[in-house]
């Protein structure tokens, strides 16, 4: 009998971290305590609770993590609400990895990198950021612009200020939408902040966040002189199979689960505007 990609592996939640009021990060391993499978930065996996449903999530931990995988999940639907009630020790099913990763080993190599994220959009980027931090000497300067509604909505805040911001050659620029007590950092929307910071164009940019943030950040980068071939993003659409067969996550001829989720903006220009 063939191996069947629809049949998942068993996973165990060994840690739950309340990151923001509506985002939790789940650490998952096999029942033997090992990492379930290898992945590349930007790839996704299907998590499921039998009887509730199965859904696609980006793997937020870096492939360089040899012990476990992490998923940062915002509570917004059926499966995610159930997961938010889950405790340590809860079994889940996991299958993947799905999709194409960021071209970290060829296109990104040797380049300066700019990561721009909004809200839970940091989840897929954290995998790439930590991969690039792990292999620090393979990449140039790294800039990270990250914004959220409020200080409390910043995902991975402790990791950002304790680890990312203290790395040499890594600049972290945080912003929140509105003034907040106890926040003396930047206030304002991500696209405006990116323009204010005014990056030189000799780099690769990676965007992930709400569609409106992506739209205006791309416009901002274009006004700074970035070409669409330098800018990457990830898409998400409804998925069931994760292997390009169930027929629902296509944008034109491309299936997000199989041909994405990572796309370059000039590639997206070739696709119909239906995402």
């Amino acid at each position: 009998m063939f191996n069947e990609t629809l049949i998942p592996k068993l996973g165990v939640i060994i840690d739950v971290r309340q990151d923001t009021p509506d985002i939790k990060t789940f650490r998952v391993v096999s029942p033997e305590g090992k990492k379930l499978f290898e992945h590349r930065p930007g790839q996704c996996a299907m998590l499921s609770i039998p009887g509730v449903g199965e859904a696609m999530f980006s793997i937020t931990s870096s492939p360089t993590n040899t012990e476990y995988m992490e998923f940062s999940i915002k509570k917004c639907g059926c499966v995610t609400t159930w997961l938010h009630q889950a405790e340590v020790g809860q079994n889940v099913t996991v299958r993947g990895p799905s999709g194409n990763p960021f071209p970290v080993d060829d296109v990104f190599a040797g380049k300066d990198l700019l990561f721009v994220a909004g809200g839970v959009g940091l989840a897929p980027l954290r995998s790439v950021i930590n991969y690039c931090r792990h292999y620090r000497d393979r990449y140039g300067k790294i800039d990270i612009v990250y914004g959220s509604r409020s200080k409390d909505d910043l995902l991975d805040y402790q990791e950002i200020i304790n680890e990312w911001a203290t790395d040499s050659g890594v600049n972290v620029h945080l912003t929140i939408d509105r003034e907040q007590e106890g926040w003396d950092g930047h206030v304002g929307f991500v696209p405006n902040y990116v323009k204010e910071l005014g990056f030189d164009t000799n780099k690769i940019a990676v965007l992930c966040g709400p569609p409106i943030m992506i739209k205006f950040t791309l416009e901002g980068l274009r006004s700074l002189g970035f070409e669409k071939t330098q800018v990457y993003t990830t898409l998400e659409l409804r998925m069931k199979c994760g292997v390009g067969k169930c027929g629902r996550c296509n944008v034109g001829s491309k299936y997000v689960c199989k041909d994405g989720p990572v796309f370059r903006f000039d590639e997206l220009d070739e696709l119909p505007n239906e995402y």
């Binding site: 009998m1 063939f2 191996n3 069947e4 990609t5 629809l6 049949i7 998942p8 592996k9 068993l10 039998p50 009887g51 509730v52 449903g53 199965e54 917004c76 639907g77 059926c78 995610t80 405790e87 020790g89 809860q90 079994n91 889940v92 099913t93 998400e236 659409l237 409804r238 069931k240 199979c241 292997v243 067969k245 169930c246 027929g247 629902r248 996550c249 296509n250 034109g252 001829s253 696709l271 119909p272 239906e274 995402y275």
Partner: protein, 342 residues
Amino acid sequence: MRKISLSNLDGLFAKIAEKSKLYIPVDDNKGFAAFKLWAEGVKMSNALNTVRSAKDFFFPQMENLMEFKTEGKNIEIIDIREEKEDFVVFGVRACDVKSFEILDRVFLSEPVDSYYASRREKGVIVSLACGKPAETCFCSAFGIDPATPAGDITAWKTETDLYLKANTEKGEKLLSQVEGLTEDCDDKAVEEQKKAITEIVKKLPLQNLPLDKFGKGKTKEYFDSPEWDELSSHCLGCGTCTFVCPTCQCYDVKDFNTGREVKRFRCWDSCMYSDFTLMAHGNSRVSQKERFRQRFMHKLVYYPDNNDGLFSCVGCGRCLSKCPISMNIVKVMKTLGGKENV
């Protein structure tokens, strides 16, 4: 070429059914044909085609994929797949036989869908030439010859006899199983029938569709066509076209809790339904226009893009006869492909 007298058709079916399940088109009491399990006394339909396509044999409307037992925080995953039985489908028309190739490219491409593959491996297709193609038929527009359908065995039915010719190893095996009932013959009668069918096909109204206007790389040309508004304006979103379509293969995966275990099953889904692409944060295809456009762009452009130009339509005409508002792929092709053809 082998032949058997139609008067001994039951004998042929009985012989095949000795070794494997045999399905043939059978009329129900309203005269609608459907593939049914053959048993003694079951008579073959004379209808041109079954209401539902033959895709059910390999991609059933509903099938269980796996089971889970859950207790407290624990989950057990149970692989319920088992070896499938051999089966024979008799009387599949040329259009439906072609649809298997289209489905194969989806389900048998990496990663192979083992549920589909195991049925495909066990099924033997006996196709049947269309003696009298109907006005809704346009398979020949897609290069399909209703006079010589593919399949493991091709069959031709004349007034008196059934002619059989094996095309594959599986077909040879089945023919040798029924060798004692059939006799060697020349292909004169078959050639005559082929010629007659070709003559009928030439006169059918839908043979000249502007296919050259569609295919690979045409997304930009048609995606924003203003015609989609009018074409989709009456679509009820009922999904009938997708269910009767032999090449529609979109599916949903759902869980059902029986109380003892959770069954994860797959069932046909339809891009015509609003919740097909609905996510917690919104819907990428907001109105029926986007859903309607997806279905036809998939058949005429997206699928060809990913499959060497092959169209995902076989011209069976089921959507023409079953759509409650009489919208169909022919109208879409004629409207988008050039007004002069309407």
